[in-house]
Symmetry: C2
Subunit: 272 residues, 2 copies
């Protein structure tokens, strides 16, 4: 029997609850790497290697690699190899927010789990069960559904239904009661609207959280940890992307990324 996703997650989070978001943009990389043909690979691989001791999960966002075409696909492949080598206990979450009707979602599941080999993915729940099931039926992989995202306009649709019954809470409820039959569903719950984390948690006690939005996006870490990472629930991870990968734009970028990952790990532990 392969390990279940929750088993993988338990093992990965023994090292803490840090998720490093890998969203590389060439123009934001250290100057000495921008012009080099292998600069992107060096950037990603150096960050993986320096953050490995402090990191439970790596979360490459596919948009940043797709925007670079073939070089991006190559870099993503090498990045995944690099995590497997340097941080064999860590989980890799393919952040693609894919979703489609069932027969198509099944092809995305093949792309994400078999072609790329991700341990988990993010999925947009707008299409409901049919679009989610092709991912969740892979019982050794994890599926984080978007509940409440971090962006300012998240409320336009995610609050639909009103204060008493907003859409994001319907997602939380269905995720807990309908979509989690294989015990591998989690939720993306942004840290930028702290009061909502507690409301989601109330409806979804058995789901692990992936919490973005601390750091550059302004979410409060203490609230995210106290409301989202209780020992009564499956282990969650707190994502930081720009705060770690762009910690320094100098030659010490990797060292500084490692420092920031370590600091986040320690700060999370202190908030518990």
């Amino acid at each position: 029997m392969p390990m279940t996703y929750i088993e993988k997650l338990n093992k990965a989070t023994a090292a803490g609850n840090v998720c490093v978001g890998l969203d590389p943009v060439i123009s934001r990389m250290p100057e000495h790497l921008r012009e080099r043909a292998d600069g992107l690979n060096i950037f990603c691989e150096s960050i993986v290697s320096s953050t490995a001791p402090y990191t439970a999960a790596y979360k490459p966002n596919l948009a940043f690699f797709e925007a670079l075409g073939r070089d991006g696909y190559d870099a993503l492949e090498r990045l995944i190899d690099s995590v497997r080598k340097n941080a064999p206990q860590a989980i890799i979450i393919g952040d693609g927010k894919r979703s489609d009707i069932g027969s198509t979602a099944q092809r995305y599941a093949v792309a994400m789990f078999d072609r790329w080999g991700f341990d988990a993915v993010t999925v947009n729940p707008y299409l409901g069960s049919d679009g989610i099931k092709p991912f969740t039926e892979r019982t050794d992989r994890g599926v984080y559904l978007l509940a409440m995202t971090t962006n300012p306009s998240a409320v336009e649709l995610q609050d639909h239904g009103g204060e008493g019954d907003p859409l994001y809470l319907r997602v939380a409820r269905l995720a807990e009661t309908l979509w989690n039959e294989d015990n591998n569903v989690g939720l993306v719950v942004g840290a930028t609207r702290a009061d909502r984390i507690a409301r989601v948690r109330e409806l979804s006690p058995s789901l692990p959280f992936l919490i973005p939005g601390v750091g550059a996006q302004g979410g409060d870490l203490d609230t995210a940890v106290s409301l989202g990472l209780s020992p009564d629930n499956p282990p969650g991870v707190i994502n930081s992307s720009r705060g770690i990968i762009y910690a320094s734009s100098g030659e010490d970028f990797a060292e500084q990324a490692g420092e920031q990952a370590k600091l986040l790990r320690d700060n999370i532990a202190d908030c518990k």
Copy 2:
């Protein structure tokens, strides 16, 4: 000034309102092509060339190409070249249903519009304006937002808010009033729940529709045309994927695909 998306759409739909959905699966291709290294390319290019006279839009769904890894990316690139050559008036809609927070959606816009060169994309609206704007600000390209999808479980979230104010109608309303400031937004409105097309149209008179779900998924063409493709609204397209590309599994697959595209074009015209 480059053509606006509506100008492109007007030009493309002079040939009718057929959108050919390109969702290739190796095991469903004609037997004589399955084992050939260039079988996928031959399959896609033959279908494009035989359907070109009857087709307003081609809609490759990215899931089917991503599931094939590098071969898939190559095939998609060649497919796009083939449409430009064989059907220069046709629009290519990159069906990826992407969405993310603003800075990330911007990278998806680069991937879809610059790397792949699609004329239009499908976008999942769950994140609201921030996730939509990076696509719509490309004023020469089109953005079809998912309103009501064709799959059985679409209602789980898309009906949230109840009969009087379901989510899919909020999408329709916001698309018309808030998200369409560059006059390049359209809506994906499935044909499988016919009564809803009229409700969406009432709220979105100025938006072009992309209507999937006729053919293999069982939607009624007559209703889709009469409710969705009125001459009072911008030109819509009706998508058929499996009904065209798998019209025959023999050596005559391309000829039969052409026949089916022609038939759909004529049937749409008859329903008007």
